[in-house]
């Protein structure tokens, strides 16, 4: 009989091996899924993981990796701080939308004035928008003891309605012949989050994502606030004994996550997306939850996980168009990744032993 035996302390080796193992198992199970759908499993997996990086059209897909990975990483870094402290912000998607709205709103308000100050103002507005949206679950939690999971999640749907109302109302392009959606910020130089180096996909959002990774790494390993975040998540009673004020952490963690998600939204709307439209949000806020856990809530892990997840997005799209795989199958594939990661996580804290049956 197989028996699980608790390790005296978490294995450092397995902490890093389990994500890779999860990817491999996902490939196997995903392959089986694709085979069941009547597609060649090897080709499907190769399309998802190989084509975007080394295929014929890699010159087009590689920049996409940064464009899709940056918002995921930026949001996931913010979420990971809260997750480490046991504060569950599930509503990053909403904070992402509101950040895009406030950021774009500032840009549109100045149209058509040209000034180098407009873009920095938009960045600030985007961060503030996301922060403010995240403060709603934070304040409700502290004031009335509401559950931040439910409140932040429900606010995603509110934000989606707000997005639709803005795209159809106040932010609608007056010269858009009645089509929904705002002016295209890519055609408004002062507000355009352009590529910093042409053809690389590198825009300000990518820079912000890298800065966030470094910032989070230093915070968690060197700063006492990061220590308090980790301590609260691991041993809440010990944290209170150490003098951590839980209310302050709720505000800091939700606020940071909201601000980073808002920034991601703002960089997206002023760059790759270009305009506020009804279908602006594509689920980065939810996928970032997977990214955060896939990266073990560790900043460097999140960096890698964000890129991996972006890869499956891009590869999934190629597989959809080239092989006719349904979009749901790709989403299932991404979901499996988190599922298997959580399952193999047990190996970090336990080792498997063959044992004789014993009355416990």
């Amino acid at each position: 009989m197989l028996k699980l035996e608790k390790r005296p302390q978490p294995s450092r080796l397995w902490t890093w091996v389990t994500p890779l193992l999860a990817v491999v198992i996902t490939m196997l199970a995903g392959g089986a899924l694709f085979a069941a759908l009547g597609k060649d499993p090897v080709e499907a997996i190769a399309t998802i993981f190989w084509q975007p990086l080394f295929g014929e059209f890699a010159f087009y897909y590689r920049p996409q990796l940064l464009i899709k990975g940056a918002p995921l990483i930026l949001i996931a870094i913010g979420l990971s701080l809260g997750f480490r402290a046991g504060i569950w912000n599930i509503g990053a998607e909403g904070q992402y939308i509101v950040g895009a709205l406030t950021g774009a709103g500032v840009g549109l308000a100045f149209y058509p004035t040209e000034s180098v100050l407009i873009f920095p103002l938009m960045v600030l507005a985007g961060a503030l928008g996301g922060w403010g949206w995240a403060m709603i679950p934070a304040v409700l939690k502290l004031r009335f003891g509401t559950n931040e999971i439910l409140v932040s999640l429900m606010l995603v749907y509110v934000a989606e309605q707000l997005l639709a109302a803005m795209a159809l109302g106040p932010m609608k392009n007056p010269e858009g012949m009645g089509f929904p959606g705002s002016r295209n910020l890519r055609q408004y130089e002062s507000a355009h989050n352009a590529e910093l180096i042409t053809g690389t996909g590198m825009h300000w959002g990518v820079v912000a994502a890298f800065i966030a990774v470094i910032f989070a790494y230093v915070l968690l390993t060197r700063h006492s606030l990061g220590y308090h975040i980790r301590l609260t998540g691991q041993a809440p009673r010990a944290a209170r004994f150490a003098g951590v004020r839980p209310a302050r952490l709720v505000l800091v963690c939700l606020g940071t996550a909201g601000a980073l998600a808002g920034l991601a939204g703002m960089f997206e709307v002023s760059g790759p997306a270009g305009q506020v439209s009804i279908d602006f949000n594509v689920g980065y806020g939810f996928t970032a939850i997977i990214v955060a856990f896939l990266g073990r809530l560790h900043p460097l892990g999140i960096l890698l996980a964000g890129l991996l997840m972006a890869l499956t997005y891009i590869g999934g799209e190629i597989a959809q168009s080239n092989m006719g795989l349904p979009a749901a199958a790709i989403q299932l594939f991404q979901g499996m990744l988190l599922f298997f990661l959580l399952a193999v996580d047990v190996l970090t804290n336990y080792r498997i032993r063959l044992a004789r049956r014993e009355v416990a």
């Binding site: 220590y227 980790r230 301590l231 041993a235 010990a238 150490a242 003098g243 416990a360």
Partner: protein, 535 residues
């Protein structure tokens, strides 16, 4: 009433030099056939041999003590007898027939019952309902209630079957467990550390019951590390050390000191008390009342006390009478009225833990893993947990990990913490070693007032002596110490004055020197509203 001797002072025992009657494990030539005979029981867990070829016999009607330090293998042994754990090798015979219980159900059927240290009772249900839940074919509740009454009267364990368990004291809950066992009419009753939750008066009631059972021919296997208790109750004692049976002795004819040395395997120094002169009042609590943060906690009601510099105030009491809440109110986790707590004259009731540490009020909670220390964090990180401020381990919010590690190393060296190094996770340490670390962490920060709760709980004798010595030394150097403990021997050994917590209230505080056991028991709340049974 004969005073329960389990809280007689240690230094008294040390002078009672009895004739040594200890002898090697297999020298017994009684005529009586053993009820349970254990031979060569071995059980190994990965990395540790819990029981190594343990053999001994339990005779019908005897009270047999199983003695040993934490981790000596007592629990594993009784779990094997009760069918919870299967031995790797060795054999048991019950009434001369081979006995290999595959599960507790079979053990109960064979006449073996066990009262655990931690009760398995449902608080919202009545006594009779709880008893019925543990039975294979429970009779109708009314008949069961009658049976419970009969048994409780026969054995002098006053208990009303209709009462809700949630309203019972720890001693009364234990009676429910005992009666549950007695209804099965066992031949062998195993009791795991039964007196740890009882006041001295309740201990006496329990002992009378056990003596009556033994007179009726029921054998009792009594697990404890309280030597005086064993000397007054038990006929035989088997001593385990590191999984081995290191000797059997007649407890009545063996001194506590001798038994302790067999338990530990060597002699160790009993803490020494340097004479000290109490100074000015360091900690003063006036009219402290706070509600408990937890639903099953005990609110503190109008607590008054003061501790002088250089003095140790011991607070006894049965678990769950407000000890955790008092520690939290003093550490700063549980805020109170500003004026209720004064530290060298400063009102600190509203201050959080960090501000109090800054003023020199340090604390060490009872729960090591999860409260005093974070289990998955390294010792360095755990040293930083409370040492950040007084040891100056941060610079503009950034952690000076080098300094934190040096502090952790200093604790490990000064307090003889057995560990490979400061990078090991707290949960990898044994209970005693982690406790030394937790106490050492506070002591090394030079507290002006130190509050400790259960400083030696679950700690082996040598480590416990070291911790008590550290507290005595700290007081000798002028710190005020408030020691909350459920170990009366410990409190009598180190405290200058003694008080007891009972249902969130504090008794009168009296000099520890002139107290006798009966007075202490009454301060702790007597037998919790129960008449002492006359058997």
């Amino acid at each position: 009433m004969k005073a329960a001797s389990h809280c007689r002072r240690h230094r008294h025992c040390a002078t009672e030099e009895g004739e040594s009657t200890c002898r090697p494990p297999s020298g017994d030539n009684r005529v009586t056939t053993p009820l349970l005979s254990i031979s060569g029981l071995t059980k190994a867990y990965p990395g540790v041999v819990a029981n190594d070829a343990v053999s001994f016999d339990i005779i019908e009607g005897e009270v047999h003590a199983l003695l040993g330090e934490n981790g000596a293998g007592k629990s594993t042994l009784v779990k094997m007898i009760y069918g919870l754990v299967k031995p790797d090798s060795g054999a048991m015979t019950l009434h001369g027939a081979p006995y290999t219980p595959p599960d507790p159900h079979a053990a109960r059927k064979a006449g073996v019952a066990m009262v655990f240290q931690h009760f398995s009772l449902f608080e919202a249900m009545s006594v009779a309902e709880n008893v019925a839940l543990g039975m294979e074919e429970p009779p109708r509740l009314r008949d069961l209630a009658t049976r419970i009454r009969e048994v409780s009267e026969t054995y002098g364990l006053p208990l009303d079957p209709g009462r809700i368990v949630g309203d019972l004291s720890a001693g009364e809950r234990q009676r429910v467990e005992i009666i549950r066992c007695l209804l099965q009419e066992p031949r062998l009753l195993i009791m795991d550390e039964p007196t740890s939750v009882l006041t001295p008066q309740e201990v006496e009631i329990l002992f009378q019951t056990l003596r009556k059972l033994s007179a009726e021919g029921v054998a009792i296997l009594y697990i404890s590390h309280k030597l005086e208790e064993i000397r007054s109750l038990c006929d035989q004692a088997t001593i385990l050390r590191q999984g081995r049976n290191v000797g059997t002795c007649l407890p009545r004819e063996t001194s506590a000191r001798e038994m302790a040395e067999m338990m530990v395997g060597s002699s160790f120094a009993a803490p020494e008390r340097a004479p000290r002169a109490p100074g000015e009042v360091a900690l003063e609590i006036t009219g402290l009342s706070v509600a408990s943060p937890s639903a099953f906690g005990t609110a503190l009601k109008d607590i008054h006390l003061s501790v002088q510099a250089g003095e140790i105030l011991g607070l006894g009491g049965v678990a769950g009478n407000g000890q955790d809440e008092l520690l939290a109110a003093l550490s700063g986790e549980l805020p109170s009225d500003a004026e209720a707590i004064r530290l060298h004259g400063t009102a600190v009731g509203r201050f959080g833990p960090t501000a109090r540490r800054g003023l020199g009020l340090l604390a060490a909670p009872e729960e090591r893993l999860g409260h005093a220390a974070a289990p998955d964090m390294s010792l360095t990180e755990n040293a930083f947990l409370t040492g950040a401020q007084r040891e100056n381990l941060t610079a503009r919010g950034f952690i000076r990990w080098g300094a934190a590690r040096a502090f952790a190393r200093a604790i490990i060296e000064r307090f003889d913490v057995r560990t490979p190094g400061p990078d090991v996770a707290a949960r990898a340490l044994s209970g005693g070693n982690l406790q030394k670390f937790v106490i050492g962490r506070e002591v090394l920060q030079r507290p002006r007032v130190l509050v400790v709760n259960q400083p030696t709980w679950g700690v082996d004798a040598a480590a416990a002596a070291a911790i008590r010595q550290a507290l005595l030394d700290l007081a000798a150097n002028g710190a005020a110490i408030l020691c909350i403990s459920q170990d009366l021997d410990e409190l009598m050994e180190i405290s200058d004055r003694f008080g007891a917590l009972n249902e969130g209230r504090l008794s009168e505080i009296r000099p520890a020197q002139d107290l006798n056991v009966e007075e202490i028991g009454l301060m702790m709340g007597g037998a919790h509203g129960m008449e002492v049974a006359h058997v």
